[in-house]
């Protein structure tokens, strides 16, 4: 398995999809000669030409709608929104149109649209370039939502998203783009709606997505020295949600902490915590822990950004609250 970066894996998914299916077409800002501001579309213009690697004006509502129209006509557009924060500029197209057209038309419409957008805080990009708005889209029926945490999942989830006949929001993390990892050679698909157990453990399950899965893995590693064996479940998809894998794991460990980079209140962690608490009622050894960003806009200055965004220490602290009697303490 070759080691490649998350950005390269996304690039590979796009290139392979475009080679296999002439109906795959890209729309977005700066995706041409520049190759996208996070390098994900590098080289694609050269291989596939201006028609299929289509740079757009600064008109998020306009070109999101354009992608929907293409999708209605049988294309498989992949729309890049440069930062997920700018999805606010096209919420109607995404949430009132793409998400609902199949339903409102009684099944006549199919919207095989993939929307890619980076989430997350990185390098003091401040409040309008650092959000993790996954909860908004997970709460929008008709959208599927996936968040890869590794290069292999980036490749496999994006490939599956493009093949999916529904609109799929693929939220990528800015701090992961340059991270490298092994990627299966040959055809690789990750099914939408399947979580992945990234690490096995017996004392507690850490449930997370996107970069927080990497944070959870580091925390789990450090926790071994405190005598805690944490399992790590990477959700990968928020919609559909893999309830089985989550519940199977927590049924074994009987303790869970959910970690997400979105603002904590009314965020992703609430749904997962509520699910576990209800389904495993009476079987848990501790309340489900929740770790998320503080409920503030994301601040600019580095010490403030660090305070707001969940860190490894925050995850460890939440775990230790659930496992107060861990042998090493």
């Amino acid at each position: 398995m070759p080691n490649i970066s998350y950005a390269a894996a996304l690039n590979l998914a796009l290139a392979e999809a475009m080679r296999e299916d002439p109906k795959v077409i890209l729309l977005g800002e700066d995706i041409g000669p520049l190759g996208g501001i996070f390098t994900v579309t590098e080289g694609l213009l050269e291989e596939f030409g201006l028609d299929r690697v289509r740079e757009t004006p600064l008109s998020e509502a306009g070109f999101m709608g354009c992608g929907i129209g293409l999708a209605l006509c049988g294309w498989r557009p992949v729309v890049e929104i440069m930062f997920s924060d700018f999805l606010t500029m096209c919420m109607d197209q995404l949430c009132n149109q793409a998400a609902k057209l199949r339903y409102m038309s009684g099944g006549q419409a199919s919207v095989p649209l993939t929307v890619r957008a980076p989430i997350g805080a990185r390098n003091s990009a401040a409040a309008q370039h650092s959000q993790s708005p996954q909860a908004w889209f997970a709460h929008t029926p008709g959208l599927r939502v996936v968040l890869p945490a590794t290069p292999a999942n980036a490749l496999g989830l994006l490939a599956s998203a493009i093949e999916c006949d529904d609109p799929v929001v693929v939220l990528e993390h800015k701090l992961l783009y340059q991270e490298e990892g092994p990627v299966p050679s040959g055809r690789h698909r990750v099914p939408l709606g399947k979580a992945e157990v990234k690490r096995e453990g017996t004392d507690l399950t850490l449930i997370s997505c996107s970069r927080m899965t990497q944070v959870a893995l580091v925390a789990a590693e450090e926790l071994t020295s405190q005598g805690v064996a944490a399992e790590v479940v990477d959700l990968r998809s928020l919609v559909p949600l893999d309830r089985e894998t989550i519940l199977e794991s927590v049924a074994r460990t009987r303790r869970a902490v959910v970690v997400d980079e979105g603002a904590i209140d009314y965020g992703i962690t609430a749904e997962i915590a509520a699910l576990i608490s209800a389904e495993l009622f009476g079987e848990l050894l501790a309340p489900v822990g929740r770790v998320g960003a503080l409920a503030t806009p994301v601040p600019f200055s580095p010490p403030l950004e660090k305070t707001v965004i969940p860190q490894v220490e925050d995850v460890i602290a939440a775990v230790l609250k659930c496992v107060p009697d861990s042998p090493a303490r």
């Binding site: 008109s59 306009g62 197209q93 199949r102 038309s105 419409a109 529904d166």
Partner: protein
């Protein structure tokens, strides 16, 4: 040019909308229906030049576009009545009628929202070189929304086979256009974006047919065009809305006087294309067609409750 075919279609729309209004009054139409009556000449003028494989994107006031483009009245009415034989199996209703098999990609409940979608449909046509055009109908108020502007630019930039049709009936619900727009109107804005545009009397189907012929042809040549069609909204914003707070009786009376159908009738008779008797006969036929549509819709069952969770996602298991 023969105008009787257009007359038939306009009359079908009018009689259809009258029936919808009546069915709503008697509780057969859930929700509100925004009626197209009084604006028939626009949809009919444009669609006259469209091929079956061309695309239409519509608005909340969309019944007329659907009928003019070729949708079956019975299935449109069934949809408006929330029945399972409606085009959308009752899930869409009046504001979301779509008939994909007729190239009707959907009415839309969000003002101006279909315009960006239309750019994608037109781009598909262009990339496939299939010679089709896309037509986006919208009201005068859509001109105030950002997506209108973004769509004009995309169409202009990419030379899309796209025809923008602004139906300027002067109103957005209760507010007249002079209280909403400070500029020179849709046609002028389109020109600033590099599109060709024309203004046309949208209550004169002869003028509409003429302008539409040009506009559809230009769009088909991948030169995007905007038509600004002056028209009049009869009555309230939707079939159940009273207008007394914002429209005088005189104004309301004048609207009916501008009826494009009555106007065409005079011309057909004057030019000898039809006699009064022939027109009466057409009317009888059309009423029978609408009766049949109503019969079809009424006999169609309501969808079953468990259909509510179908069609959210492509494959049922995908719903999570």
């Amino acid at each position: 040019m023969q105008y009787l075919p257009s007359y038939r279609k306009m009359l079908l729309i009018l009689r259809f909308e009258e029936r919808v209004a009546e069915l709503q009054r008697t509780g057969q139409v859930p929700g509100f229906a925004h009626l197209y009556w009084g604006q028939e000449a626009i949809a009919v003028g444009i669609c006259h030049w469209l091929r079956p494989e061309d695309y239409v994107l519509s608005t909340h006031r969309g019944h007329g576009h659907c009928l003019a483009k070729g949708a079956e009245p019975g299935r449109v009415l069934a949809e408006i009545m929330g029945r399972s034989d409606g085009y959308c199996r009752g899930k869409g209703g009046s504001m979301h009628v779509a008939a994909f098999d007729q190239g009707i990609l959907g009415a839309n409940g969000i003002v101006a929202a279909s315009l960006p979608i239309a750019t994608g449909v037109a781009l598909s046509n262009r990339l496939e070189g299939n010679g089709r055009v896309a037509v986006a109908f919208f009201g005068d108020a859509a001109v105030e929304e950002g997506p209108f502007h973004e769509s004009l630019n995309l169409a202009s930039l990419w030379d899309l086979p796209l025809l923008f049709v602004c139906e300027d009936n002067q109103y957005a619900i209760s507010v007249t256009v002079d209280k909403r727009q400070g500029g020179k109107g849709a046609a002028a804005i389109a020109q600033a974006h590099g599109l060709e545009s024309r203004k046309v009397d949208g209550n004169d189907v002869v003028a509409m047919l003429d302008a539409s012929q040009w506009a559809v042809a230009r769009a088909r040549e991948c030169s995007p065009v905007l038509l600004e069609c002056a028209t009049i909204r009869w009555g309230g914003h939707h079939s159940a809305q009273p207008t007394r707070r914002y429209r005088s009786t005189e104004e309301l009376e004048a609207t009916q006087a501008a009826c494009p159908i009555a106007r065409l009738e005079k011309r057909l008779i004057a030019e000898g294309e039809a006699t009064m008797e022939e027109l009466a006969e057409i009317n009888t036929e059309i009423v029978a067609q609408v009766d049949e549509a109503e019969r079809f819709a009424r006999q169609s069952p309501f969808p079953k409750p468990d259909e509510a969770t179908q069609d959210v996602y492509a494959a049922q298991e995908g719903g999570g």
